[in-house]
């Protein structure tokens, strides 16, 4: 790479020390506005009652770990992808499999349902995002109609995971402006890799789940972490998080096979759900908020309501 010319008075050391002092200033500015904790503001809010949530459907069919899932806008269909290289579209009401596609590579890290409901996108170790139009015509070979799209020119309503290089993860969550390509905010309070992020329904905050066994809430306008969801008894990493429709509940799937339900405002755990027989790897609330689906390394998906 061509070396950038040095400006007067600018040395690597001076730039580094300026960076350090700017980091200090950033923390100072954030601390100035830290006048209260979220759970204190939430004290006047009524506590949540008891929740009865059970597995209502179990989707069996994958031959290996389920890595990712997504709901269709019709609130009924689910697409899931697995280490067995298959992407399956399920009818979650009946548990029937409607489509199955075999991907050319095995680690299908991500899949998403197109907003139209007519296609699914998935990608994995092949570093590509492929879009498959969904067809009910038995004579049509779904795989033959596949289209590969490059990641940064494809607009998906959900996630696109294209690289499994988890060593690239660090403990930072960064917020980017897609039009300028600029990072506008960065948060580094987790003590270990972050596995999942999800926006709060209003768009003003986001939650993260991390290998440090905590989930955290960051407010974008206050530019800081405003809540930590943790318990001494929870020592395994959180792999996936999602909010209920109002944002009051945070569902988090963990590597100890459980799902914890948190009161976002008060910071307390509302419920713990058992059922999976291996790590929970993916979790999404349905579009109408009536249920959520979790996928696990135990090869199954469960719909909870």
């Amino acid at each position: 790479m061509a070396t950038d010319g040095l400006h007067e008075n600018e040395t690597l050391a001076s730039l580094k020390s300026e960076a350090e002092s700017l980091k200090g200033k950033l923390e100072e500015e954030r601390a100035k506005l830290h006048d209260v904790e979220l759970h204190q503001v939430a004290e006047r809010v009524e506590a949540l009652g008891q929740f009865v949530m059970k597995t209502r459907r179990t989707l069996k069919g994958h031959g290996n770990k389920v890595l990712c899932m997504d709901w269709c806008k019709d609130k009924r269909r689910i697409v899931s992808s697995s280490q067995d290289g298959k992407v399956i579209v399920w009818d979650s009401f009946t548990t029937n499999k409607e489509h199955a596609v075999t991907m050319p590579c095995t680690w299908v890290m991500a899949c998403a349902y197109a907003p139209s409901g007519c296609a699914i996108a998935c990608g994995g170790l092949d570093n590509k995002c492929s879009v498959y139009p969904l067809t009910f015509d038995k004579n049509e070979n779904m795989a033959a109609k596949k289209k590969s799209v490059a990641m940064h020119t494809n607009y998906l309503s959900a996630c696109s995971f294209t690289n499994s290089d988890m060593q690239g993860c660090d403990k930072k969550a960064m917020v980017w402006d897609m039009r300028s390509g600029q990072c506008i905010q960065a948060f580094e309070t987790h003590e270990s890799d972050i596995n999942s992020v999800r926006y709060y329904p209003s768009g003003d905050a986001f939650a993260s789940g991390s290998d440090d066994a905590t989930c955290r809430l960051y407010d974008l306008r206050a530019d800081r972490e405003v809540a930590i969801y943790s318990k001494e008894s929870i020592i395994f990493g959180a792999s996936s998080v999602d909010f209920s429709l109002s944002g009051r509940l945070l569902f988090a799937g963990y590597n100890d096979y459980t799902i914890n339900v948190w009161d976002v405002l008060k910071g307390s755990r509302v419920s713990i759900l058992f059922g999976h027989e291996n790590r929970v790897s993916t979790l999404r609330v349905s579009p109408d908020g009536t249920a959520f689906c979790s996928g696990s390394w135990d090869h199954t998906l469960r719909v909870w309501a």
């Binding site: 730039l15 660090d170 897609m178 960065a186 003003d204 405003v226």
Partner: protein, 100 residues
């Protein structure tokens, strides 16, 4: 569509907001930048930090109050909070009915 779309390193995960400012921001977890001379990298880091330090912020009390308000307003339409009768929730078992 951008002519020179920003090139993002593959993320570990990403998310799109469904309200607020849609299509403007998304989240990234893998923060590594791989190439660039040391000086160039350091200069970019300083510029980035300058920009981050200078953004407008609101007090946590105000931000928290807004989060609360949104929550309370939406609570009535959150099926997990309000509860749906088993008869209308497609996932819950319906009570058996007998034909009289």
């Amino acid at each position: 569509m951008l002519h020179n779309p920003p090139v993002f390193l593959p993320p570990a995960a990403a998310a799109f907001p469904t309200s607020g400012n849609p299509s403007l921001t998304f989240l990234w977890m893998s923060g590594k930048v791989t190439t660039g001379s040391d000086i160039g990298q350091a200069r970019r880091a300083v510029e980035q930090l300058r920009m981050e330090a200078g953004i407008d912020r609101v007090k946590v009390s105000k931000a928290a109050a807004d989060l609360l308000q949104f929550c309370m307003e939406q609570a009535k339409s959150d099926p997990f909070l309000v509860g749906i009768p088993a008869a209308t929730n497609p996932f819950k078992e319906k009570k058996p009915c007998a034909i009289l």
